[in-house]
Symmetry: D2
Subunit: 262 residues, 4 copies
């Protein structure tokens, strides 16, 4: 049976990325405490395609991805997956993003009740002959309470759910766990959010938010400071989006930087 993908291509164009997209598969994510958490992954995976080949072999992507379903994955294992894709597809570059919802227990501030909160996350990696690039992304929901609204009103202040979306790269030889990044950012809003809050907790959270009014600009700047203080982080990108309660649209702030070596 002819291998049509292997036909010689005459157009002289090396394609930067060819692969699969919208693949849903279960994976295990390595946790900071040495265990793992099973997640539902949504994957994009690609390799480069030299100019002489007409096509790539997409079934090999799926074979590699499926085989990785039962091994806990961190940034290190992602590199091995990419190496495998490079080899199996005879490519000089491989790239993969894995989106998933990750759960971490959070503790209600007064009652002490613990419940699992969900965080949208992404592992992104790229492996070429010249090196490996890895980025971790987490989305951390928080409360934002408007300082302007508080300052000008006789009582009350509009507040709403906001989300801190952070992507980070780490310095060589270091690794920031999802849990670490969440803990760094979770405190940067006007208050934290929780799945379960009893009445005494709700009182606490309400007053906490009122005591810490923050614009999206404030949440962003405080997050910038927190990430600059973390010695493992060499680069970050931050977006804070606040789903304004008094509008039908969002406010947002964005910042990206290479952090100076300490």
């Amino acid at each position: 049976m002819e291998d049509v993908q292997n036909r010689l291509d005459q157009r002289g164009i090396e394609i930067q990325r060819v692969g699969v997209k919208g693949v849903h598969l279960p994976f295990l994510i390595a946790t900071r405490d040495g265990g793992y958490q099973q997640i539902l992954g949504k994957i994009t995976a690609a390799v480069n395609l030299p100019e002489q080949y007409k096509g790539t072999h997409l079934s090999r992507f799926m074979e590699v991805l499926v085989a990785w379903g039962d091994k806990p994955i961190s940034g290190r294992e992602l590199k091995l997956m990419l190496a495998e894709l490079k080899t199996k597809l005879k490519a000089s570059a491989a790239e993969l993003s894995l989106d998933f919802r990750y759960f971490m227990p959070v503790t209600a501030p007064v009652s002490g009740l613990s419940s699992p909160l969900d965080f949208s996350c992404q592992f992104w990696g790229r492996l070429t002959d010249s090196g490996y690039d890895f980025r971790l992304t987490v989305h951390v929901p928080v409360v934002s309470l408007c300082p302007c609204s508080k300052a000008i009103s006789r009582y009350g202040a509009h507040n709403q759910r906001a989300v801190i979306r952070a992507s980070v790269r780490c310095r060589p030889g270091t690794y920031l766990w999802i849990e670490d990044l969440i803990l760094l950012l979770r405190e940067q809003g006007s208050s934290c959010v929780y799945p379960v809050l009893k009445r005494e907790d709700e009182k606490y959270v309400t007053e906490e938010a009122y005591d810490h009014p923050k614009f999206v600009e404030d949440i962003l700047r405080d997050s910038v400071l927190a990430l600059r203080r973390e010695p493992k982080v060499s680069w970050f990108r931050l977006e804070v989006e606040s789903f304004e309660s008094i509008h039908n649209h969002s406010a947002f702030a964005y910042h990206e930087e290479e952090t100076a070596s300490l």
Copy 2:
């Protein structure tokens, strides 16, 4: 060329709905003041298919839909579209839903600045040999401020954007305009939302919300009362969803009823 759709089918199954889905087309929506507003429509349209036919003729749906792009549509014109679908497809029932975002100017409470606010809407109609059924749906964004949070906290109260999703049917011979339904519901939250608010407006909205704390249950009940008071409405379905600022999930309430004739 053979008409494969017209082949005789032996399975003995009359299909209740066959048609097109996910069709995007521009339409004109008739406005209360006698004019129209151009909108981007997303359409599902279907007819029934008698058991003897293998298939329906989907291109005729598109021809009917495209031809209606330049005539202002209200519940009455939707009936004409359905009649045309019934005729062109030789069917005894036709059904259509048209989803769109509709704009209505709203006035900031203190500065008096006017700006267009967007409302997700739907026209839904079904025409059979025994009659015509029409439903209007609007989604009205509001602020909800938690009465419990206000009552138990020394200061502040968590609040957030909420949405009132209302579907209504009208009594024979009456018609409720989109604008009417929006105005009925817009006041049922703790406060209204606006695209443009200057500082004096923000103060007003903040205090207004704090002065009118409402659970989703309260917003729902007040909306029920408002719809019961509207003599044109013979049936309604209401859902209020509040995007809780202190959680990563929503609270909601739902109610549906035939309203008694007055």
Copy 3:
């Protein structure tokens, strides 16, 4: 601390459903072979609220849901969850929907390679003092190949991915597993879909689809016949949507029926 939710309400409106929406939590789904599969759930849960109470206690919903995270769930356990919600919320009706992506291994037709295919599913249940109602929904991706296109063209035929969305209720004392329902419907398209296909499989699937041209109407009718033949099913609702390759919109067909007792 005041229980604001328990305040007396004067509006005289019993609310049909109050609860939480958009809750993400991991759950275990009981599998046909006696084991379980961990999934990522998206939940809506509600109870009715008698007219004398101002509000419901949303934190109890979350406590019940979180506690069910480690017990395998089928239609039977869903009933227990609903009974718990009814008790904890002092309600006479409770309702819950759980949406999730479920994986089932499928075998490539020639190479015999096995790989996990994802199916969007839903458990829906409602428990009142007069009984329990349970519905299972699965979305089964298939290939649809157009009979008209095949008949009128000298060669080729347009084809595309389609999805069969089926909801079923079972007769008292019987239970249809997700796996059963998937297997019933998976064969009703022009061909099955697979995560991994080697070249010999792709040849098979291509010819299989060309040998079995089916309109959405055909896939729907064949699915109706399959569900009528399944003695456990007492009611079903079917929608087939075909993401037409030659258009920028879909074709669809829909049918719902109570099946006669055998």
Copy 4:
């Protein structure tokens, strides 16, 4: 009333982008023939915020955006909008993206019937003290028919809808209209897609696709060649995604390049 946004900030962080997101408003898009088309816009707009200011004034964004609702917009007018945002917000950089669905009539290949096809588009612009950067993005739906499937099968070939997503920058002093970019790319699939096709058209499209089998790699490379041939284009980014009919996931290819001056 205090201007809280104007408070002095001590954190020493200039924020790269602060603004509004998820704003829905109607706009007019300038057409190639000198007229305009009304569209439903989804906007993100931002400016930079110097380190000394605590916050930006979000209501001014909305005032600028609303005021632009009745003037036909092309890349040139987007620059004026950005200049206005810069001035009103006292910023040194402003950025805006406007997403919309645009309609262009297409003609069925045999019957000659004309009908409006929808294309997702984006205008993106950034204006700083050192210059103006503008990108146009269009999503063009096409048919892709698999060359491998055709070559190895006795008859038929799997095919499906695919989308070419192209972003382009133009050389100084030139402007590529949406219509131009669509026409350049529309021919790069195995066949075009159409809203309305009569039987004779469907035969044509089916055979056309079978006569022009193309992998996503082929569609991408042919699109690369087409964009390189267009002298106005100085940079482009291309992604082709094919919603594989035989899988439950997509194949895709991606390429980005600065094109050499001619």
